[in-house]
Symmetry: C2
Subunit: 345 residues, 2 copies
């Protein structure tokens, strides 16, 4: 059984458990997950014994090449085409994920007899195995190597955007499809903005450098952050760096199947708070990584999802002293039962 057939079979088990007739997938990453086909404006309907893709005519031949195991319905009017197929098949309980439909579309599906059901794909997609796991690992290796290659080139006068351009190019040259998100390159006081937007600011002597980046390989993402000091670090920088470093290492060591996201968050947060910087750790500790750069499970104070073997998450505590500097350290981690593995080290 190939991977897509297995995933469709897993979905059917869930449909059967939940006593549902069919699931409509409309999000591009969900459609890719079950078909290998990655284009917008394509939806897949999975019933107990059949699957149908609704696609524009322009994608038909391409879809057939990639996913011949799914029947195709070429649509002129997408919504009507889906409803008409559901009616034709006599499906009584077809569900869609209300988080991935616009309000306009959700209302249309509901008026057409569909029902809401959240999280079916989320629960499957959280666990990575086989080729997707290898893809994440490769994406992580490319990122880690890129940092090693770029670090010696970061010198006085270089602009944040130059570093971003060089890193994107280096990742591409190693086989990455693209960056996994807009790289955050932050010099000096910009490092105190957790989501700083890479600018034309130039690096000066004796400044911190924060680099948050990742790439996509085989459609799977990596995510890592490194902070270092260019020149002679101040005592305050060294102190803050040491706290974040220890908090991050403790968090990474704490990542084990069976624990919840909020447990990992607490490990990092408690350490930083005990060190007197609690109020400057102003975001969650991490997130799942996969086809999307941010996905379930979320590692924050509200993270109730229990970690399981095969999940991939980030651990990225930080301390941000607005107007001065910030430090964040982040790795992408493969969750294990007895031992978890940082993939970006």
């Amino acid at each position: 059984m190939n991977i897509h057939a297995k995933r469709i079979s897993d979905i059917r088990k869930i449909l059967s458990e939940k006593k549902l007739d069919a699931l409509l997938l409309t999000q591009i990453k969900d459609v890719f997950y079950v078909s290998g086909f990655h284009q917008d404006r394509t939806a897949v309907l999975i019933t107990k014994n059949k699957s149908f893709a609704f696609i524009p005519k322009m994608f038909l031949e391409h879809f057939k090449e990639i996913a011949s195991f799914i029947d195709t319905v070429v649509y002129d009017n997408y919504h009507e085409s889906v409803l008409s197929k559901i009616k034709e098949l006599g499906l009584k309980k077809t569900v869609f994920d209300p988080s991935f439909e616009s309000y306009t579309e959700g209302k249309f599906w509901v008026s057409g007899g569909l029902q809401e059901c959240s999280g079916i794909l989320t629960s499957l997609r959280m666990i990575k195995e086989g080729e997707e796991l290898e893809n994440v690992k490769t994406a992580c290796k490319i990122a880690a190597k890129t940092f090693k290659l770029i670090k010696p080139k970061i010198k006085e006068g270089i602009r944040e955007v130059d570093v971003a351009a060089e890193m994107e190019y280096l990742m591409r040259k190693q086989g990455a499809m693209e960056k996994s998100f807009d790289l955050i390159i932050a010099f000096g006081e910009n490092s105190a903005l957790p989501h700083h937007e890479t600018s034309t600011r130039k690096l000066k002597k004796n400044e911190p450098v924060l680099i948050d980046f990742g790439c996509v390989f085989g459609r799977y993402c990596s995510d890592m952050t490194r902070t270092f000091f260019y020149g002679q670090p101040s005592a305050e920088f060294l102190k803050v760096y040491s706290i974040v470093d220890k908090a991050q290492k403790a968090g990474v060591a704490g990542v084990l199947a069976g624990r919840k996201g909020k447990d990992i968050d607490a490990i990092c947060r408690d350490y930083i708070s005990a060190s007197g910087y609690g109020q400057y750790f102003i975001h969650g500790t991490g997130h799942g990584v996969g086809l999307q750069i941010h996905e379930e499970p979320y590692i924050n104070t509200k993270g109730e999802t229990e970690l399981r073997e095969g999940m991939i998450i980030t651990v990225e505590p930080g301390i941000y002293l607005y107007g001065k500097f910030g430090v964040r350290i982040e790795d992408t981690i493969l969750v294990g039962r007895k031992k978890s593995v940082p993939l970006t080290r």
Copy 2:
């Protein structure tokens, strides 16, 4: 009046005309349009005389730097924070755009007393002026120059992904923030797939090359496509190329304020049909370009939006002979009253 104040004032005029009390903006591009702040998880509420941004604590200082003219509400729970502010202000008729909210969120807003109203921002964002117009022009110039720089480097043995990597790097080096979408680099038979995904396929002698690309400058996009033959073109390629070229030129010449999207589509489609290739032009003729690579107005058989001065659209007819080759030619065009201006030439 600065540009953001003007846009907020334009929104208030529409609110007044429609007898509404307030508009909730949640889409990142809409929030940027009125504030200059570009981050997820930030919403803006515009009332008749005030504006409020709802933001996570981690963005607060940054937001204040960029958009001090908007009041800030730091939220712990986003949805409750918005509803509580609406209640506090006693707003009776607050609207949201149902296309930009998930079904889950839309239901929440409706249960909290908000109402649906589509297209307020769409109607404003369609017309480009001042700095945003300059940004599109620069994004187009960078793209056009990049094509000139890359074309001589496209030779036997180069891979599609290599061309993409080099082009992205060239655009970055000219000041682009990033590519405006995943570049489509298609050699040989891949050119017959309108949304081909750039692959590791190598270029051979005597093959067509299709390149669909663009970049982002100052957050505004450009979009263009060129098709050429590497080596000795076949008679069939020359014939098809000539038809698409003439159809595209006729379409571009037809772009004038007062016409509708479907009129432009008909010019291109009729020409290609009359040449005997109608069934191989399997997509719409174009789309608006701005903060998003695809936005209103859409130029297709159903395009009812009347073109107005200051709109920016693409004209991109194509002929796709599956298994053989495809030709698409595309420019980004500034709509004028008496004369429209191709920006990517």
